[in-house]
Point group: C2
Chain length 433, copies 2
């Protein structure tokens, strides 16, 4: 049973805070093992990567077979059913169209003092994308990570995907091809992250690494951060649905279960203005949990972390939502736009009953890599911004230096940074000669 | 003596790679101590912060005196000389004018399938800014961190600044006031970071922490990352000057020294097309090093990490610059704009001989918090973007769901996520009834 709460009940604040602070994930501490693997790959390059792949993935590779050849990719892609190929292509097109609009513009202007100022955006030269192997190997994640990189203008985009016992997911390779990925290596784990960050004889180093992974991959990403850029370290998935009574309980139940089925640590929350509707949704969940393929996972998530919260009005719903800062926020109310305006902390908002969250996982267009664990308070989902960087530009005319140089001299003196001041003074002296 | 290199010499690649990989900073490992401090502040709140402040800053505070009162701030500000006040105000105005232009726009559109898509930017609710005490307590850094936060719309901006033995820097308090900071606490070290991240009885928690600090502060920021957002962990400062022979060697020498005087680990590099000019700059540096106040620091930095590199043409200069990915890049050449176009990895570019880097430290307008240690390959300086986050928006019409829902069903099936698919199917069934 999930938790049933009413925001009017006496101990609501205590119960809600407990819900907010529930620790849903117990990551094993693998940091020492990961440190050893990274050091090994840095020291021995390909040889270490090949040994570790033989050990963990039971796969004997050589420097020559680390990378999928074009012919191999082609052969795998041919196994993808035609409807899946078309679906991937439609998804890719929509994701690309959305992300192209994210590209920010360069700027340049001359201000009243005569200083020409601005900035310029340029792509990261090379990026690496980690793709998990096995069950959690999702072609949709390949599209969501690779397309923003290519839209941003990344010249060289490499994927690492482990193929335990040699088994590869054809749809992952096809998604990589559709997204324009340049290199695909059949390696995984901390050794793949180390190879991408530091390079080996066969794999050139990259500047930025993104993509989900297990505890070893997450620990390795944390360790190479600084040497390269990384995206966020994602926690278990979450959805918050805010719904009034004018919805089909079964639809909302399925939306809740579409998060719960990801992971036993996932969290599905419903806030409703209609207590009866809340009960109806819980009943619909129970019914669906009798037949869902992944009912063991979804059921555990719903039982341990699910909640149905009744509130007197939508303003209270928005206030609670802002404290949750959900990764996914679905607004199934009469005027979802008005409610969305009040929900200021959320990774992605899905407006209205015709927008199930699953649309956003695949084909909506916005990215499905989103901030979890309340981090939508301060961070955003993956975007082209993750693959570009800004260089600021400043050019002083002699007049501009005359106008603002003295303030720099004063502040340098105040901070006891003499050479800073002198570098301005030497130039002003020339102008005043 | 700095290193003198010529890109045409036989062993240049080896020498240049050694320069790139030189480890300039040996941070002490204080992680265990910091972990203990954070746990203590989480457990005991104010009491722990007060004890640690008494211990490390030799300052006895109470919960009531943790925060500077308005009257205290007023009194300190009155000590700032009038020319410094005016310089801070001029700097603040220019920094504000630059950063206002960085605010990105919201977007919304309806695509041919009938899906309404977009995104919305909202500010972080509360931010904390760490300001070091003692010698490295720079009012300019207060402006550079606080103004972007306030331009972004951060409602609550708190500063922590240690005041060892009770000594505060009036200019820091004035800069905070000018920038619109809301709360100032006289605490520092890992205990300040812990208090900002987790809150105490007196200090409400924030969502994002920025600002420079020593090894303890850096380790604490790394540890609280995830609970709150943080800015980058900055390394020692760097400058690369690319200059042709048509420059005053003393100006360039001063520009190099204005980085070197920050820190013995700072790095100042000159790339020139004119070997004779390179020698003249080195001589000018030697001469300045005889009289500079901070000659011990600047001299050590120049001796240990400085370099003068001669190249046959500016294209080679740009190529080397892109491998260095400098924090500060000064282009003192006839056509700096053309050269800037080729320099794709740099935190900030200063164009032409009238733009000494020190202008950018204080009054240019662009931010002086910039990516160090080659991280300009994948990251950007501080900006309003650090204090806002994006929520993506998607709304399907029934027609849009009909157009793209089937692809989502197909991909959900391919990924064995049944509830994902059913949440779409249930709605399509209604439409097709």
């Amino acid at each position: 049973m999930p938790v049933f709460l009413d925001s009017q009940q006496a101990d609501f604040e205590t119960a809600f805070t407990a819900l907010l602070n529930a620790k849903r994930e117990d990551s094993p501490d693998v940091d020492d093992i990961v440190a050893g693997i990274i050091a090994d790959v840095r020291a021995r390059g390909d040889a270490a990567v090949l040994e570790l792949t033989a050990k963990f993935d039971r796969l004997d590779l050589t420097a020559k077979t680390l990378r999928f050849s074009e012919a191999e990719i082609e052969a795998f892609c041919a196994h993808v059913p035609e409807d899946e190929r078309r679906a991937l292509e439609q998804a890719a097109e929509r994701i690309r169209a959305y992300h192209i609009r994210q590209m920010p513009e360069d700027a340049q202007w001359t201000d009243p003092d005569g200083a020409t100022l601005g900035w310029r955006w340029t792509p990261v030269s090379a990026a690496g994308l980690y793709v998990p192997g096995g069950l959690a190997s999702y072609p949709s994640s390949v599209l969501m990570n690779a397309i923003p990189a290519k839209v941003a203008g990344v010249q060289r985009l490499a994927i690492t995907v482990p193929t335990p016992d040699g088994i590869a997911n054809p749809a992952v390779l096809l998604a990589a091809r559709i997204a324009g990925v340049d290199e695909i290596y059949r390696i995984g784990g901390a050794q793949a992250i180390a190879a991408l960050a530091y390079g080996t004889q066969t794999i050139a180093p990259v500047d930025k690494i993104t993509g989900p992974g297990n505890a070893f991959v997450a620990a390795a990403k944390r360790r190479v951060f600084g040497k390269v850029g990384i995206d966020m370290i994602a926690g278990p998935s979450e959805i918050l649905v805010i719904a009034d009574g004018d919805n089909d309980p079964d639809w909302i139940a399925l939306d809740l279960m579409s998060q719960a089925e990801h992971d036993e640590s996932a969290q599905s929350l419903l806030i409703t203005t209609d207590a009866g509707f809340g009960r109806a949704v819980a009943e619909a969940v129970d019914k669906r949990l009798q037949t869902l393929d992944r009912r063991a996972i979804a059921g555990a998530s719903w039982r341990d972390y699910g909640a149905v919260i009744t509130v007197p009005d939508l303003d209270q719903a928005a206030a609670l939502s802002n404290r949750i800062a959900p990764e996914h926020l679905e607004l199934c109310v009469a005027n979802p736009e008005a409610l969305a305006d009040k929900c200021t902390h959320a990774g992605a908002i899905f407006l209205g009953q015709w927008t199930p969250e699953a649309i956003g996982d695949y084909v909506g267009g916005p990215n499905h890599v989103l901030p979890t664990a309340r981090s939508a308070r301060f961070s955003s989902g993956l975007s082209v911004m993750d693959f570009i960087k800004r260089t600021t530009l400043a050019k002083m005319s002699p007049e501009a230096l005359r106008a603002i140089g003295p303030a720099a001299e004063t502040l340098a003196r105040s901070e006891s940074l003499q050479a800073h001041g002198l570098s301005v003074t030497a130039r002003l002296d020339r102008l005043n000669r």
